[in-house]
Amino acid sequence: MYNQTEIIKDTSELGADGELVINMGPQHPATHGVLHLVVTLNGETIKKIEPHLGYIHRSIEKMCESLTYRQFIYVTSRMDYLSSHINNLGCALLVEKGMQIEVPDRAKYVRVILSELTRIASHELWLGAMAMDLGAFTPFFYAFREREMITDIMEDTCGARLTMNYIVPGGLMYDLHPDFQKKVKAFITQFKSKVTEYEDLVTNNVIFQSRTKGVGILSAEDAISYGCTGPVARASGVSCDIRKIYPYEVYDKVQFDEVLETAGDSFARYMVRVKEMNQSIRIIEQLIDNIPEGDFVGKTKNVLKLPKGEFYTRVETARGEFGVYVVSEGGTTPHRIKFRSPGFSNLSVLNHISVGSKIGDLMASMGTLDLVIPDIDR
């Protein structure tokens, strides 16, 4: 970790070669949180980017070691807060896998529908915020109009707008809201009629295209070697959708395409996310009318104890592969817990794709990586 004097010292050393060190963050508004980037510049050309983490470290992994298997799920909402439902799902799947808990079909369907709604909400927020990074202020409000409908659905059913904590090991915390299906259908109609507005406002905008096309190119080999997942890797043509490769819940029963682009630049990453929203809508449409009746939670023991051993599950969040690794000693709390967050690997590629480009392009390549800092810095 740099302290202030070291940064000044570095600048004076580098100053001889015409180089300049700029500290972006930790409060830079475009970094969406407290990410600290130490950018070494030669003129306007980026020579090196060093991300500094630790500003929002809450030691969630260590905290989870003192919480029981029912309690530790809620903490994961605070990591990647934009796909909190999917994080909770990953943890619940691990406990269910370890204890062989039967989950009713109704819970499985609802979990998938809510996961996809969360994915759309996350991509909507990303779309608005990324366009704002590039100087377009209006798309933010358009994206939030649709996102508001999703947060309303979440508020009705789960009781919270962002950190839902609706999933418990064995099923759901309580049954669906009676208006759930009606509201989701209203959202689908609204989304389909309004998605063209994004194309008019952002996708076909000539300034947006010239700022993102050919910027921050990531090749497929580099995406694999850096461990990128999610839309970042899929924009480079790497097939890595956990929903397709290791289907969980009812993803093997629904028809959807894995969105792949080949260009690997910022515009490709943008297109992957926009197309993914449409695929999510497709999944929801197939499930929303077929939610089976029955229990919403399976029978579980009062005190959950994972058998001795190691467990790992993965789910596809809006940002990529989210993995939960638990070492259990047979007690009521995990012995060691490790989260594999997609944001960390996606951030590590930032230096690679930005070196040689101008500092103005850094916003485009960083914005399309879709970083959520509390997810990187657990």
Partner: protein, 158 residues
Amino acid sequence: MFLKEYITDVVTGVTSLLKGMRKTGYYFTHPKEIITEQYPDNRATLLMSDRFKGEVVMPHDANNEHTCTGCTACELACPNGTIKVVTKFETSPEGKKKKAIDALVYRLELCTMCNLCIVACPSDAIKMAPNFEHSVFDRTKLTKVLNQPGSKIREGIE
């Protein structure tokens, strides 16, 4: 050739911008389609979902009776130590000793609204209320005692 490219660039640029501006202009001239809510001016008409997790409350009926038995299930379920159940022993007129709650201390500043205490409660004594305006001038005001003064447990709840 250069001139032709230059002109096409300008034309496509201007048309793409105008297309975007048309969308913005549409909403400028159609104020009824704007969905912004004017909080806090709309407090009187603001509808919160009945499931919204704002704070933990303990419902009391008309006789100032609640259903909390003091079993501490909520205290054990809470991941943050938000709830403390202080129990006492009440002596009934027949001389039987019975456990009852003295105070159910709820510290709102520690609460993450995870709903685990509500699910754990066997007698539905506590529930989530949709009130979300919690700001106070003094932090100590966030520590609340949920059972009302003088309240007692409803007959027949074990």
